[in-house]
């Protein structure tokens, strides 16, 4: 089986929206219904996970010298 590429949030969301549309519009067979639902649950979980898991990460200040980029912590004045 071909290895599935990790879907981006946008792709997963679009997929979920499409599935919901299918379920609402189409006369799906029971099997398609189950498949769609299973896929929808998977995508929905992925999206929710991404939303919840988005950890706070440090903001970065790029310092580029002689074509060498350094990452420093970005501090906002007054914060």
């Amino acid at each position: 089986m071909a290895k599935k590429k990790e879907l981006s949030f946008e792709e997963a969301l679009a997929g979920l929206e499409e599935i919901i549309g299918n379920m609402e519009n189409g006369e799906l067979s029971l099997r398609d219904l189950m498949d769609n639902y299973a896929q929808g649950v998977k995508l929905s979980k992925q999206c929710m996970q991404e939303l919840e898991q988005a950890e706070k990460s440090m903001d970065i200040l790029i310092k580029e010298e002689n074509n060498e980029a350094q990452e420093l912590e970005l501090k906002i004045e007054g914060d």
Binding site: L13, L16, E17, I20, M23, L33, M48, L61
Partner: protein, 401 residues
């Protein structure tokens, strides 16, 4: 001396004008007077300075592109070509552009560069990329100091605390600025992938914002694979970077608002979608179940014997009728038949024989007349309890019969 027609001379003069390159693409500074816009959309006016005046015409197609309304007394730089209007024998400027002179050379440069890059397709709508729905990393190209970074930071973090900002600090004005901004855009594209870029600065004069009109910046934005949101100056400031960007934000704060979806809102949206998924599944299953139940409840599935009941009933009735018919018809007839048989019995020759009569048969059959038999023939005489073979001795006609 040769004599020429007015037309010939005028044509000659017109050709002189048209052959002069300098006059074909010229910028002329002056003050607008006698400005008139005809209902056709064409504009006619005079450019003048202290000591001279020049007739000008701007056709509708060009006049439509004006971002301001030319007024009498306005000092402008008009661009176009000089030629002769033969009917009036007057030379005039066929105007392509009018730039208010207050803004000076920059405005002209702006207009020229804009026209050139527009022709090249750098601002084409088809080229614009859509923004990611849920960006996690946002590259910011602006000054480290200044309100812009702060505004973007605060708005972005308020909407989604998890969003990460990566600042590529640049000078946002001055001679180095444009190259740095362009380099920043390339840096993110080549070395530091992010979901979306903001390039911007705060408000200022046209001079201050000028880096964002420079060709290197416009081209870098156009070439960027990462979507770029421009956020330059205030609502009313338009730079060429804005035209090239995938989305133009009126202010840096607005850029952050456009880019960063409200996490709470997004979560609610996702929960709504998930709920819809469940509801859809539930109702679809319910429907299928109903269909199944309906099937099961149908007579055929529920009590198949009922399907036959009617037929069986019909069969019963048929049998019943048949029986009745049998009784009525067959039995009755048998009765009649028996009666008749009884009668027949009474007429049976055997009964007659038992009473002493006999039956005479020859080899031709029953002998009922003396004419059917002759003397000497054999006859067969049947009696009640047997038969005789006899020879006829004589035949006599008559008798008691």
């Amino acid at each position: 001396m040769a004599v020429h027609s007015v037309s010939d001379v005028t044509k000659y003069i017109k050709n002189m004008f048209d052959g002069e390159d300098v006059l074909q693409n010229i910028m002329i500074r002056g003050e607008i007077s006698n400005f008139k816009r005809y209902t056709s959309g064409h504009c006619y006016f005079t450019l003048k300075d202290a000591s001279a005046s020049l007739k000008c015409v701007m056709f509708r197609s060009r006049a439509q592109t004006l971002r301001f309304v030319p007024e009498n007394g306005l000092k402008v730089v008009a661009g176009g070509s000089l030629s002769v209007y033969e009917r009036d024998g007057a030379y005039q400027l066929y105007t392509d552009s009018i730039v208010p002179e207050g803004a000076g050379e920059l405005s002209i440069a702006f207009a020229q560069l804009k026209a050139r890059l527009t022709d090249e397709g750098l601002f084409a709508v088809e080229h614009k990329k859509s923004l990611p729905k849920f960006p996690k990393k946002i590259g910011v190209i602006t000054s480290l100091s200044g309100a812009v970074l702060r505004d973007i930071y605060h708005v972005a973090k308020r909407r989604n605390p998890a969003v990460q900002l990566i600042l590529y600090p640049v000078q946002v004005q001055g001679t180095e600025s444009a190259v740095q901004i362009a380099e920043g855009i390339r840096f993110f594209n080549k070395k530091y992938p992010v979901d979306v870029l903001i390039a911007g600065r705060g408000g200022g004069s046209m001079e201050d914002l000028w880096s964002f009109n420079e060709e290197v910046v416009v081209r870098a934005i156009y070439a960027s694979k990462i979507p770029v949101v421009s956020a330059v100056g205030h609502e009313t400031d338009f730079t060429l970077a804005d035209f090239a960007a995938d989305v133009r934000a009126a202010t840096p704060s607005q850029a952050a608002e456009i880019i960063v979806p409200d996490a709470g809102e997004l979560t609610r949206y996702m929960m709504g979608l998930t709920a819809r998924l469940e509801t859809n599944m539930h109702s679809a299953m319910h429907e299928k179940q109903n269909q199944l139940v309906l099937c099961l409840r149908s007579t055929a599935m529920h009590s198949p014997q009922r399907l036959f009941a009617e037929k069986r009933q019909r069969l019963d009735m048929a049998v019943e009728r048949l029986t009745a018919f049998y009784r009525r018809e067959v039995l009755d007839k048998r009765h009649v038949l028996e009666l008749r048989l009884g009668r027949l019995e009474t007429m049976s020759p055997l009964r007659v024989l038992r009473r002493g009569y006999s039956i005479v048969e020859s080899d031709k059959g029953l002998v009922k007349s003396v004419h059917e038999i002759r003397e000497g023939e054999w006859v067969h005489v049947r009696l009640a309890d047997g038969s005789l073979q006899a020879v006829v001795k004589s035949v006599e006609e008559g008798g008691e019969g």
